[in-house]
């Protein structure tokens, strides 16, 4: 059989890194082919090369047996290659049908296109209303729009880049159903992921990448997870040590009946949020992004203040009306979601970035920065948290995502906080650094600090948290004890379905567990 797509010896280098090194793979019609690898293994680069959004330095691409000479996205579309991006290429300010019309080659006829969208989306079991504005859609719905947009072109090859990272477990099941239906109709699918269980469930074949090289091909359904993982990360398989929690008697963070209106049209209102975090435990907040996490974190960190001061208490002090620096004085430390721009000033050096939150720890005296101490402080973090950096004078933006995250987490931990807020601790961080950061957070909590983690990665929350909360549409569920809940239950709560089942007792019940 003529392969749908064939890559021969593809190489691509960027300044300082080899993103793809002599990569070859073959995809048959109707095959679901996984490209498996860690963050930074070169998966996304490879996909861009297949789609024509980036050009390979060397190597050849064949589609249905024909060499593609000059490649670009327009060429891809004429060949029937479509791509669903990890970060959606949708315009927020216009409707679904207008978004799709922009990439459709057909005549500009919105009513007939809307009808087609409705039909097609129903046929593949993912209904969407073509006339809704995109900014009103959930992330899962946006993904549907992207997929339907591709399907309208009747693709022969569909590329999906980490499609499940933003979905609830139930939505993943639906997506897989759609993909299988597509493959059965003869469409080839390239499925990029770093999640082994998904690849084993869905894919016929897998090409594993590590550091830009192919480290193996496998039939994932006949290969053990361990073997696949070995191919992915090599011999190093990090292991977590999580000892039982010993929560303090009194909560360090108390949130009581916190309600807040969204700051703008794109936000979510928080409704009557209550929970506690005790010293010595890690409480996680699960949820599909855009359900109020950003609002809650802003209110907790002090970036946004609340008139009702006792809605948030830190160590018993009413803190909701306090400024961020006043809250930090109460023992709060905060690792925000955006490393560059919120967690660190990109163009500033590491020691300057250290001073930003550590100014009460000897780095500033009489209003003047003590450079030597600041540099020593930064060096301390670099050594202790194994940050790969060119010393304290390196700029924040020169570090890789994982190393900068280690530095920021390290900086906050060096403040010896009583309460640590962490938002997306390991987003875009490679497996090794992720494990290190998680272990660091666990160790900090076992030393008595109260830790509150917001994450979209359920695996991560299950790995480190003692108790879990779920946020959906601005409401937070009663806490669930990690050892007595499962992904199924959390997933249901993420979609808001079983919200409100026996809430009596609240957090105290869960604590006694």
């Amino acid at each position: 059989m003529q392969p749908r797509l064939e890559l021969r010896n593809i190489s691509k280098r960027y300044p300082g890194v080899v993103a793809n090194d002599d990569v070859s793979l073959t995809i048959q019609p109707g095959e679901i082919h996984a490209v498996l690898g860690e963050n930074g293994a070169g998966k996304s680069t490879l996909m861009k090369i297949i789609y024509g959004a980036a050009q390979a330095d060397s190597g050849e691409i064949y589609c249905d047996g024909n060499l593609i000479a000059a490649h670009n996205p327009a060429m891809s579309r004429s060949l029937g290659i479509e791509m669903v991006y990890q970060h959606f290429a949708l315009f927020e300010s216009v409707s679904v049908v207008e978004n799709i019309a922009l990439s459709a080659s057909s005549a500009f006829n919105l009513p007939s296109l809307a009808e087609k969208i409705r039909e097609l989306s129903l046929r593949y079991g993912m209904p969407i209303d073509p006339h809704r504005q995109v900014h009103d859609l959930s992330v899962g719905e946006r993904q549907r729009v992207e997929i339907v947009r591709c399907l309208l072109q009747a693709p022969k090859l569909l590329i999906l880049d980490e499609p499940t990272s933003v979905l609830t477990p139930q939505a993943v099941v639906k997506l897989f159903g759609t993909l299988r239906q597509l493959a059965a109709e003869g469409c080839s699918i390239v499925y990029i992921s770093h999640k082994l269980d998904e690849v084993q469930e869905l894919c016929d074949t897998a090409t594993v990448l590590r550091n830009g090289k192919v480290t193996g091909t496998a039939r994932p359904k006949e290969t053990t997870s361990l073997e696949l993982a070995r191919m992915m990360v090599g011999s190093r398989l990090p292991e977590m040590h999580v000892s039982p929690a010993a929560p303090s008697e009194k909560p360090v963070l108390e949130v009581r009946n916190l309600s807040a209106k969204a700051r703008d049209h794109f936000g979510v209102d928080l409704e009557d949020v209550s929970f506690n975090v005790h010293g010595g435990e890690i409480v996680g907040l699960a949820g599909v992004s855009g359900n109020g996490q950003a609002e809650l974190i802003a209110l907790l960190s002090g970036e946004r203040r609340h008139a009702q001061g006792d809605a948030i208490k830190i160590n018993g002090t009413a803190a909701a009306a306090l400024r961020p620096d006043e809250r930090r004085r109460l023992g709060l430390a905060f690792v925000p979601e955006e490393r560059l721009g919120r967690g660190a000033v990109p163009s500033h050096t590491l020691w300057e970035n250290a001073v930003l939150t550590a100014h009460r720890f000897g780095t500033v005296r009489n209003g003047l920065v003590d450079r030597r101490r600041a540099a020593a402080f930064a060096t301390g973090i670099i050594d202790r948290f194994k940050v790969k950096a060119n010393g304290p004078d390196a700029t924040a933006q020169s570090l890789s995502g994982g190393n900068l995250q280690k530095f920021i987490v390290g900086r906050e931990i060096a403040l010896a906080p009583k309460l640590l807020l962490v938002s997306q601790p390991t987003w875009g961080v490679d497996v090794g650094a992720s494990a290190f950061i998680r272990q660091t957070i666990v160790d900090l909590s076992r030393a008595g600090t109260a830790v509150f983690v917001v994450s979209e990665e359920l695996d991560e929350l299950f790995e480190i948290c003692d108790r879990l909360l779920v946020i959906c549409k601005g409401r937070v569920s009663p806490p669930l004890v990690r050892t007595s809940t499962d992904r199924e239950e959390i997933g249901l709560l993420m979609t808001g379905r079983t919200m409100g089942k026996d809430q009596t007792g609240g957090s105290s019940v869960a604590l006694q567990d």
Partner: protein
């Protein structure tokens, strides 16, 4: 009745240059580009159109010359801001100052004689109607063109695919580029169109509104046009209403001066500027409205990724 007709027609005429300039800028900003140089482009248009009339060219040719002068000035901005990715604020301000200087230089030889202004239209029957005739059917052709442009631009932006593409480029040029639209080329066209409209606005000032040449005769109307676009929250209808409001205030304060109000005339002259801005600030407080119509990538340079 006489007075009402005078105020009404005066309002419409005073608003016309603003409608041209602000609608042009609206299209530019919808594509995500901020051209602060409207004042300069208007002055170039005013100078060129005036020169063409004094040099003996016909009125349509003179107006066209003014529009093209505005477009040529905007091309300068386009090269700086779109090709060389200069800071758009700086490039726009430079254009404003440059246009004012160049037009003053060109205008040195123009003398201070007024020219014969652009005539009002004569439509059989309609123009001779009582009341309605002088009220609506005797304007000069550019007044009608301005209204036509309003309809055309509204239709273009919200009903055509090209308009949709323009608006989405203003929201996210990266995404538009990824889908395969030529972002830079489309932005150039928007900038040129904005220049053409600003040039028209200038031409209107020097050959129709006050048919003589005075240095810096735009008197800040380019800046008002800029403010109009922002405070009209990037919606064509609000731009139109804002321009009429400004025109109305201009005429009213002139009437006030004529009636000998005991207020310094400098303050009265400032009134249209003040009133327009105050009203527009009040109606643009709705943040949701802003978020929906604001071109999210406004004034951010875009370089297509290789």
């Amino acid at each position: 009745m006489e007075l009402f007709i005078a105020i009404f027609t005066g309002t419409i005429i005073a608003a016309t240059p603003l409608i041209f300039a602000a609608l042009g800028e609206l299209v530019v900003e919808k594509s995500g580009v901020l051209n602060l140089g409207i004042e300069g482009m208007m002055l170039m248009g005013a100078a060129l159109a005036f020169w063409a009339v004094t040099a003996g060219y016909s009125m349509p040719v003179a107006i066209l010359a003014g529009a093209l002068a505005g477009a040529a000035a905007s091309l300068l901005f386009g090269v700086l801001a779109l090709t060389f990715l200069t800071n758009q604020y700086a490039a726009g301000l430079a254009l404003a100052i440059f246009g004012s200087g160049v037009s003053a230089f060109l205008g040195r030889g123009f003398g201070s004689e007024p020219i014969e202004a652009l005539h009002g239209v004569r439509i059989p029957v309609l123009s001779d109607l009582p009341v309605l005739g002088p009220l609506i059917f005797r304007f000069d052709p550019l007044v009608y063109l301005a209204l036509l442009m309003f309809v055309a631009i509204s239709w273009f932006l919200y009903r055509t695919k090209a308009g949709l593409i323009l608006r989405t480029i203003g929201e996210s040029p990266q995404t538009s580029h990824a889908i395969g639209y030529p972002v830079i080329r489309i932005r150039y066209m928007a900038v040129l169109f904005g220049g053409l409209m600003a040039g028209l606005a200038g031409a209107y000032l020097s050959v129709a509104y006050t048919p003589l040449w005075v240095e810096n005769m735009t008197a800040g109307k380019g800046w008002i046009a800029l403010a109009l676009v922002v405070f009209a929250t990037w919606q064509p209808l609000r731009v139109l209403l804002g321009a009429w409001l400004f025109g109305g205030m201009t005429i009213l304060q002139l009437q006030g001066q004529a009636l000998g109000l005991q207020v310094p005339s400098e303050l009265l002259s400032a009134l249209p500027y003040l009133a327009t801005i105050v009203v527009l600030v009040l109606i643009s407080r709705n943040r949701q409205m802003l978020a929906l119509h604001f071109p999210a990538s406004l004034a951010k340079p875009f370089r297509p990724a290789s």
